[in-house]
Subunit: 366 residues, 2 copies
DNA sequence: ACCGGCCAGGCAATCGGTTGCCACCAGTTG
DNA sequence: CAACTGGTGGCAACCGATTGCCTGGCCGGT
């Protein structure tokens, strides 16, 4: 083929090439692009024309080196494949792209160690960091926040700007919904023990339940994924409650499936409510009633604030930014069946006793 | 607070700082890290100690500037939130991280224009590109492949290294499966017209069907997502086939839901088979029988080859690398119901179920 | 005719590493 | 004893863009 088709050696066009072609100094070329008005309009136009012909693109790395601004931000998530992050990533990405920033995605693969190493690799390159679902300690996060602007998602860290969904409001709405449906008790299926969101939701749930005079119980912790929900179902199967509120949607989905394989049907026997409203929530059968967190907005908001900080705004490190949530009612919650109060009724459907010692486990699982 | 807690001004430690502290030249510091053996072992050790104390981290941007290697690769996907990409991203990310590369994720947001602009932004910064599900033309892709190493995923582009799942084999396995279940005809629900994979799958399906003497029909194109499947269900509802093979899982899932709302049950009335095996395939009810593409492996393989190319390997631009697939049997396919062959009975047998299908569901849902 | 000011452009230092080349110092070798 | 060699380390020129500072020319004001 032709000479120029070699991918290997073709060095990129630089301002020096443009400068030579346009018979000006490199600095003038630079200014023609980054300092509108600083160079004569006619000259600037000529430079721009020449640059176009040569196919000049500024090298962001070189620029970053001298300006100490790479126009890249890191987005750290605990697991890229987790659908919970899908909309967050999308929101962040869209906001960043619009501002001319590029996102560097770091996947922690659910490991503290990997999270740190990914972050370490990314940190020197980026202008700031959005930490989604970090496993690191508060103090480690604060340490990083000293070096570069940081916004934390779904978690509150003192002295660091945070963006969180309205956990309390959402949980309350979930409890109210259940209460309206006639339930007078519910079980909270907890997520990871260390999770800030889990703590928030559990406390809010207790408060809301107290106000509405519901009895609450709590099982867990479980890993916040579908298998975790299946395990929760095992624990619950022995003495299923009439209503359960799960830490998040994946847990809820696993729960529904796990209960289903034991002959306990949702919502007929037990109402299940999730949190987050991930995409799969409306795909499963029954559709999952859940508290919809504004995931896209979370990603966008975190990014917007990060960019503002990068541009020099104060960190407004007061209290976390709380984003509104709403309840999405689908098929996994229903009016409480009064007849379930009569004990032996569900022999065929409810009683499929698993091989496991059911009673003792459920009581003493802590 | 204390002096050093200011995030704004603290400049990073450089080799010059280390050099001064260790009383050597900057070049020696550089070599101590990047040229093992080039400097005296004792000196190197001293430098490393000093560097540790000072908290020195090499600045990747500066390194990239002089070596023309950023150790970053771009991964372009048409939509980050599409679950199809989840495992691909994960695979790519894991492979890249292991090799010390960082992934720059570019989201095309399902737009040709955005894809190009994202790519343009990323291209000068990265050492290579993995193009997942690109919307760009073959020639545009080849153009990019001239500038930087490129690996294309899920699509074959002449003169560019590609990684694809075994579309032909997978489709054949799907048809065989359907045939074994007694189906003697099937409908292909097509994806995007421009899609290379769609063309492949449709052609392979025709071949396989011919070999096994099944009649085939094709409807579409549909957008390859859940709503697309719902629309396909509308088209199909009038005269539902006994078996359908969908372009991908999302289409299949939408189809199942769409048929369901019309009282047509899967797999009782029609068997549905998907392609890809995304996470949701086993979450829905019934579980989706599908051809499992090795998504994680695809991402990993593409990345591995890209890295090899970056390290200087030949592009092996012969024919695409084909990755093996397997059939995952779940609940959405079943033995064909003979009674559906009786002609006029259609009216009752197709539309029999009211919205709730208590009895029969439990029978078939296993 | 002189001066101050502004405009447009060039020079050169700088960002933080990398690397080709040279210098110096031992320790060998002829 | 001179020449050679291998091992270390320093010097300085890059990589590509940005930017502070300077200069030369032109303008208007006095």
């Amino acid at each position: 083929m032709s000479e120029e088709s070699r991918p290997a050696d073709a060095r990129a066009v630089t301002i020096y090439d443009v400068a030579r072609a346009a018979a000006v100094a490199p600095s003038t070329v630079s200014r023609a692009f980054s300092r509108p008005g600083r160079v004569n309009a006619a000259t600037a136009e000529r430079i721009r024309t020449v640059a176009d012909e040569l196919g000049y693109r500024a090298n962001p790395l070189a620029r970053a080196l001298s300006t100490a601004r790479s126009r890249m931000i890191a987005l750290v998530v605990s697991d890229v494949a987790n659908p919970f992050y899908s909309e967050i990533i999308r929101g962040a990405q869209a906001t960043a792209a619009q501002a001319g920033y590029t996102i560097l995605l770091a996947d922690a693969q659910e490991s503290d160690r990997l999270e740190r190493s990914a972050l370490e690799r990314a940190l020197p390159v980026v202008d700031g960091v959005v930490l989604g679902g970090s496993r690191m300690s508060d103090s480690a996060i604060r340490m990083i926040a000293k070096q570069k602007p940081v916004v934390v998602l779904n978690r509150a860290v003192v002295d660091v700007p945070c963006v969180v969904p309205d956990n309390a409001g959402g949980t309350r709405r979930a409890v109210e919904h259940l209460s309206r449906l006639g339930h007078d008790s519910l079980t909270y299926v907890a997520g990871p023990e260390a999770s800030w969101a889990d703590g928030m939701r559990w406390r809010s749930l207790q408060d809301a339940a107290a106000d509405l005079q519901l009895k609450v119980r709590r099982i867990g912790p479980f890993s916040p994924d579908v298998p975790g929900g299946v395990r929760a179902a095992e624990e619950l199967a022995a003495a299923p409650p009439t209503a359960v509120s799960a830490y998040n949607d994946q847990l809820a989905i696993g729960l529904i499936r796990g209960l289903g394989t034991r002959g306990i049907r949702v919502p007929d026997h037990v109402s299940v409510i999730g949190f987050d409203n991930i995409g799969a929530a409306e795909l499963i059968t029954p559709g999952l009633t859940t508290v919809a967190a504004p995931l896209h907005l979370e990603g966008a908001t975190a990014t917007k604030h990060l960019l503002a900080m990068i541009e020099g705004a104060q960190s407004r490190t007061g209290s976390p930014m709380v984003l509104p949530v709403r309840l999405v009612e689908r098929g996994s919650t229903a009016q409480r069946r009064r007849k379930r109060t009569s004990p032996a009724s569900g022999t065929t459907s409810v009683s499929p006793s698993p091989r496991k010692a059911s009673r003792s486990t459920s009581a003493g699982s802590r």
